[in-house]
C-alpha cells in the first residue's frame, strides 16, 4: 500500500478550494427540505418580489433556464412553479461560519474569499490522510452535518484549486495537477482562467492571443509592456503558477459602507438627512462590532440619470459614533449638492479605519466630560440591539417608512462579499 506522504508533493503545497453549490438556495433546502428539496426555487431580493431580480436559484430552477440576475417576472415565465424566497442573510452567515469551521478542523490555514467559498492549505495535514481523503471527508461532513452540497478543487496552488472546483458542479471533487494544465486548460479561451476578465481577453485577442496555451507561450516582455505587472502574472497564470499564500488572517476591513436606493427621487433635505442618519447608524454599528474607529467619511450620491458622485472628508478625530458621521455626511451633502436637485441613491462609507484599542483620541476641552457618557450610551444600545434586534432601539430621527430603515434588516440585506460575521469572531471559537 502506498504511503500517505507519497500523495503529498515534496516541495510544493496542497490547496483546497471549497465552493458551496447554489449556496443560498441549498441552505433553504437544508433548513426546510419538505418545502424546497429538489424543487425549482430562487432567492430574490426586493421589497416587492415581482419587481426584483433573481439573486441565486437552485439547480432544479437552473435546469429550466432560470439565471442569476434575471428579473423575477422573466424567471416566472420560464418556470411558473418557481418558488420565490426572501433572502435571509442571518441564516446564510450562520451556515457560512459552520462550513468554514468544519474545514478549519483539518487545517488552521483557512482563507474566506466570500460567504460561500474558502481556500484551505492542507500541506501540513498528513495526519488526516491523503489530500483526496481530506477533501472527501470535508465534503462528506458538510453534506451530512449541514445538508449542503459543495465542490472541492484540489491543486498545488489557489489559482488551480479555484479552476478545479469550477470544473464540475455540483457535489464534485476535482484534482488539477500542474502537469494537467496543458491538457486541461491550454485549448480554452483566456477568460476561462480565474482573474482574466472579458476586457483583458479582448485586449489579448488584439495581440493574437486567443487561448491559454498561446498566453502561456507568449513573450513576457510584450505582455509586460502592454499590461504592466499584471502582464507577468497573466503568463504565470496561464502556466498554472501562483505563489500567493492562503491567508487565514481576516484582514481588517478597509472600509465599511452602506448604500440605499430611494423609493422615489428625494429632494427634501429632511428626507435626505433621515436617510443619512440611518446609514450612519448602521455603518457605525458595523464599525463598533469590529472594534474599529474611522477617520474618513465618504458619501455616495446618485442622481436619477444614474450619474454617481462620491465626496469625502477627513474628520479632525477618529470616531465610532453615528452622530459625528451623520453630521459630516450632511455637511458634505450640503456643501456639494445643490438645493432641490433630486437624488436616487445615497450611501455612506467609512474609510481610514483603525483598531480602537490602538488609536489615541485627543480629548476636547468642550466635550471631554461628555465623551465617556456617549461611549457608555453606544455600548448600552449595542447590547440591546445585539440581543433584541436592530430596530429594538433607535433614535427618533431614524423612524421612517423609506427603505433607509430597511438597512437595519440584516436578514434580508447582505452581499456575498460582506464577511463581518467572520471578522467579529474567529473560526476557532465555537458557536455561542
Amino acid at each position: 500500500m502506498k504511503q500517505v506522504s507519497d500523495q503529498y508533493p515534496k516541495n510544493g503545497r496542497v490547496i483546497l478550494h471549497i465552493d458551496m453549490n447554489a449556496f443560498y438556495c441549498s441552505v433553504h433546502e437544508a433548513v426546510e427540505p419538505e418545502k424546497y428539496k429538489g424543487k425549482p426555487i430562487a432567492v430574490a431580493g426586493s421589497v416587492e418580489l415581482r419587481r426584483g431580480i433573481v439573486v441565486t436559484s437552485s439547480y432544479a430552477a437552473r435546469a429550466r433556464g432560470v439565471k442569476t440576475g434575471m428579473q423575477v417576472r422573466e424567471a416566472l415565465k420560464l418556470c411558473p412553479e418557481l418558488q420565490l424566497i426572501r433572502p435571509d442573510f442571518d441564516l446564510y452567515r450562520t451556515f457560512s461560519r459552520r462550513f468554514m469551521q468544519i474545514a478549519y478542523q483539518y487545517s488552521p490555514l483557512v482563507e474566506a474569499v466570500s460567504i460561500d467559498e474558502c481556500y484551505v492549505d492542507i500541506t501540513g495535514s498528513k495526519q488526516f490522510g491523503t489530500p483526496l481523503e481530506i477533501a472527501g471527508l470535508i465534503q462528506e461532513r458538510i453534506r451530512v452535518e449541514l445538508g449542503l452540497p459543495c465542490s472541492i478543487g484540489v491543486a498545488p496552488n489557489k489559482l488551480l484549486a479555484k479552476v478545479a472546483s469550477d470544473m464540475r458542479k455540483p457535489d464534485a471533487i476535482n484534482v488539477l495537477r500542474l502537469r494537467d494544465v496543458p491538457g486541461v486548460l491550454w485549448h480554452q479561451p483566456c477568460n476561462t482562467m480565474f482573474g482574466i476578465g472579458r476586457k483583458t481577453a479582448e485586449k489579448l485577442q488584439r495581440l493574437q492571443i486567443f487561448t491559454l496555451g498561446q498566453l502561456a507561450a507568449a513573450d513576457e516582455r510584450l505582455l509586460t509592456e502592454r499590461f504592466g505587472v499584471y502582464g507577468a502574472w497573466l503568463k504565470r497564470a496561464a502556466n498554472g503558477i501562483d505563489d500567493s499564500p492562503v491567508n487565514p488572517e481576516q484582514e481588517r476591513s478597509k472600509s465599511i459602507g452602506h448604500t440605499t436606493t430611494l423609493p422615489r427621487d428625494f429632494t427634501d433635505r429632511d428626507d435626505i438627512r433621515r436617510v443619512f442618519l440611518n446609514l450612519a447608524d448602521q455603518t457605525c454599528r458595523r464599525l463598533r462590532r469590529q472594534g474599529l474607529v474611522a477617520r474618513v467619511v465618504q458619501i455616495t450620491v446618485r442622481e436619477p440619470s444614474m450619474k454617481t458622485y462620491t465626496r469625502s472628508a477627513t474628520l479632525p478625530q477618529p470616531t465610532e459614533s453615528h452622530d459625528d458621521v451623520y453630521r459630516e455626511a450632511c455637511r458634505l451633502f450640503d456643501a456639494h449638492w445643490p438645493e432641490a436637485k433630486p437624488v436616487r441613491l445615497l450611501g455612506i462609507t467609512l474609510q481610514n479605519l483603525q483598531p480602537k484599542a490602538e488609536s489615541a483620541l485627543q480629548l476636547d476641552l468642550f466635550t471631554f466630560e461628555r465623551e465617556p457618557k456617549k461611549e457608555r450610551l453606544n455600548e448600552a444600545m449595542d447590547r440591546i440591539r445585539d440581543k433584541f434586534g436592530e430596530s429594538s432601539i433607535v433614535t427618533a430621527g431614524m423612524l421612517t417608512d423609506d427603505p433607509s430603515a430597511l438597512i437595519r434588516n440584516h436578514k434580508e440585506r447582505g452581499t456575498s462579499l460582506q464577511m463581518d460575521h467572520l471578522k467579529e469572531r474567529g473560526l476557532e471559537e465555537g458557536e455561542s
Partner: protein, 380 residues
Amino acid sequence: MKLTVLKEHLNEAIGHVSKAISSRTTIPILTGIKIEASAAGLTLTASDTDISIQSFIPIESGETVVVELYAKGSVVLPAKFFAEIIRKLPSDRIQIEVGEQFQTIIKAGSSEIQIMGLDPEEYPLLPQIEEDKIIRLPSDLLKTMIRQTSFAVSTNETTPILTGVQWTIEGGKLKFVACDRHRLATREVSIDVDPEMKFHNIVISGRTLNELNKILPEQNTLIDIVIADNQVLFKMHAILFYTRILDGTYPDTSKLIPQSYQSELVVNTKELADSIDRAYLLSREDKTNIVRMTMNEDESIEISSSSSELGKLTEQLKLHKLKGELLKISFNSKYMLDALKVMDSDFIHIGFTGAMQPIIMKPEENANLLQLILPYRTTG
C-alpha cells in the same frame, strides 16, 4: 504731489504697512498702498479690511531731513511692485512725483520708473474711533503676552471665534485666553485703569496679533490701546494699527480649569522640555505626537514614546517635587513643547486631576500664566 524721501525710512514704513496687504482681497484698490504727503510728513496706509495699518514718516528726524516736500497730494500705488522696486533702487534718496491721471514717476539715481497710480478718493476711510476707552501697556509686556497665548489659537475655520485671542478686562486686570479645543493658554496682568472698566468679548484674531507682534518695539515704550465697538486701535510711535474684533461669543472657559489637583509635580523646565523634545522625534512619525508620562514612587517620571517604524524611547527624569496619586498620562508632545517654550521660568508646576482630565502647567513663581493641555484617551 512731489517729494523726495530717504529710501531707508520709506522702506521701513512700507515694511510695516505691507503686513495689512492681502493677496486675496476682493476690493482691487486694497492691493495698493495709499501715500499722502502733507506739511507734517508722509503717511502710508494699507488695509485688508480686517486690519489697517498706518505708518507716518515725519519731515525731519533729529538732524536729518527725511522728506523734502515740493507739492502736497496723495496717490495709491500697487503695493507689491512698489515695495519691491523701492527696495531695489540704487540711491539713498528717492523722488516721487504724481502727474495727470495719477501717473507716478519714481526717480532714484539714474533710474526712472513710471507706474499707474489709483485715485486715493476711492480708498476706504479708516475706522473712526472714539478714544475714550484706552488702556496703556508697555510694548515688551504686550509682546510677551501675545507670545504666551497666540500659539494656542485654533487654525480650524469651522469655529472662527477660536481663531482669536480673547481679551478680558475686569477689576483692573487684563487677561488673554487662547484655546483650540485641545489646549488653552492664558496670561493675566494688572493694568493701570479705572477698576470699573469691564470688557468680556474682545476677541482679536491670533494671526493679527502675530503681525502686530512683529511691529511692536522690543522696549518698554507704552502702547496706547483704544477699544471701540468693533475695532481695537494700537497706537505706537509713528504707527497706527487697527484691527477688527471677531464676531461671535467666546465660550466660557473659566469653569474648565480645575481648582484642585489629584497629583502635582515640580520639574526643571528645560530638562522636561529637552526630554519631551527627544520623545517627540519618535512620536511625530506616527503623526499623533503621542508621548506618555508615568510617575514613579521615587519622585521621578518616565517619559516614553514609540514609532511603529523607528522604535521606542524611554527616559527617567528626576523631579523637584511630587505629591498625590501616581498617574500615567498620554498627551500630544507638540502641545507640551509649545507650552513649555513660553513658561519663562526655571521650574514649572504641573497639576493633574486624572488620566482623562486637563493637565495644568504654571511657572513655579508666576501665577499669572497658565497652560492647559487635554490628554489623549488611550485604551492600549
